[in-house]
Amino acid sequence: MLAGLLVLLLLGGWEAYARLGGIDAFILPAPTQVAQALWDDRGLLWDNLLVTGQEMVLGLALALVAGALLAIALHAFRPLRRAIYPLLVGTQAIPIVTIAPLLAAWFGYGLLPKLVIVALVCFFPIVVTTLDGLASIDPEQHKLLRTLGASRAQTFRWVEAPAALPAALSGAKIAVAVGGIAAVFAEYAGSENGLGHLLLQSIPQLETARAWAAVVVLAALAVFCFSLLALAERHLAPWAHRPKDLDA
């Protein structure tokens, strides 16, 4: 309710500023002009949305699989964790802008380099949260399992993996935010379609309203991916949303 009002107020202010402030539409289009572009270019936006959407969803899925596997490996082998964690943090400092063109040069203009870039960016928060999830088991729980005769693999199957599942999905939810930006950069680096590509083309063509429309669609895509993950979490890990109880 309040959020809706706030958005309305913001859009109203923007509209007034753009219309009455004598600003050129190719510098700052009014929200109504963006809405117009959304409608006029709907076919174009939809086609490009499908491309970027595919990059995002597959990239996130790839990051989830790779991130979870790496987290499991790091969890299972302590020395590996100490050796690799700092390196992982280091990879996050590499600016995507610089490696995106390299990847395009290696992998071409297809889907693959985009997947790699999106996954590379999304992967880190997933590894961090999954590792935390795996390590979050109460030491008393481990004692109980040992007296029950649980093997290492059984401990993983019955306790650690279920604990890590909602953590991994939370990591993916965080990753959605950076994933969208990564997809755009990946398309900047070399692409014939996608929302990022559309964005890059629209600005020199002075189609600023279309560029903003692409941004709106990109934001909607991020919200969609986020909701998808939230839905998956509610279905796969309902206990993560239980009312707080003292134990566990």
Partner: protein
């Protein structure tokens, strides 16, 4: 030590239900948790261990379960399963599957494991709650599930660490009742750690009193009373007073 640190998965089970501690000392750095503790529990005997906080009660149970090794002395025990101070139910499993966990860990198939868990939960008065999520259960119900899980491990020795410590007085009295019932039907060797002297006298065949840290055995009181016992029975209150007196004198001696 007969208890293993590496858990067995299959193979012949140790049906040995005796527990023997001889001059057991356990240190953590400079802290001496247990100092020359000797204790015996015969097969199917229920031994209550009472003592002030920090007297090494949980440590004693972990030694019996093979989770720790003594620094001196000897621990001989068959397969013992620990029921920790908190119930530690897994929130991703419902009540039935939590109870059936030890059977699944012993590689029993899902259906028969659930059937056995169902039967035991029914005995414990949890009919209708088998499919409840752990957070939908009351504290007393959670404790029943945890006890069912402990029993279904099939271990001859149960180490219960303050199983009812977190329950209110009425739920606790109720819990003592059903635990006594279950043990009457399915006798096991039980080491029951508790803060509550009355609980010790109501449930145990013997009450062992530990001194404040470093924990030593200061009294070993037999409870030769018929079951079921009532808290208002004069024999029970008399024994309770004796146990309390030795606990109090141990605390004064230790201070």
């Amino acid at each position: 030590m007969a208890t293993r640190l590496e858990a067995p998965t299959e193979g012949p089970r140790d049906v040995e239900g005796d527990v023997l501690l001889e001059g057991v000392t356990r240190r953590f750095g400079d802290v001496v948790a247990l100092d020359g503790v000797s204790l015996r529990a015969a097969r199917h005997e229920v031994v209550a261990v009472v003592g002030p906080s920090g007297s090494g009660k949980s440590t004693l149970l972990e030694l019996v379960c093979g989770l720790q090794a003594p620094d001196a002395g000897r621990v001989v025990a068959g397969r013992a399963v620990l029921m920790p101070q908190r119930d530690l139910l897994l929130p991703w499993l419902d009540a039935l599957d939590n109870a059936a966990l030890p059977l699944r860990l012993a590689r029993e198939a899902k259906a028969p494991a659930r059937a056995r868990a169902h039967e035991l939960l029914a005995q414990l008065g949890l009919v209708g709650f088998e499919r409840s999520r752990t957070w939908e259960l009351s504290g007393g119900m959670r404790q029943r599930v945890a006890v069912a899980r402990t029993l279904l491990s099939g271990a001859p020795i149960l180490c219960l660490d303050e199983p009812f410590g977190a329950l209110d007085a009425i739920t606790r009295a109720d819990a003592q009742g059903w635990l006594a019932g279950v043990l009457a039907r399915e006798p096991r060797t039980v080491l029951l750690v508790t803060h509550d002297v009355e609980e010790a006298v109501l449930l145990a065949d013997r009450v062992v009193v530990l001194s404040p840290r470093p924990g030593r055995v200061v009294a070993d009181l037999p409870v030769a009373l018929p079951r079921p016992r009532s808290a208002t029975d004069p024999a029970v209150t008399a024994l309770r007073a004796r146990a309390l007196a030795s606990l109090r004198s141990a605390m004064e001696g230790g201070a």
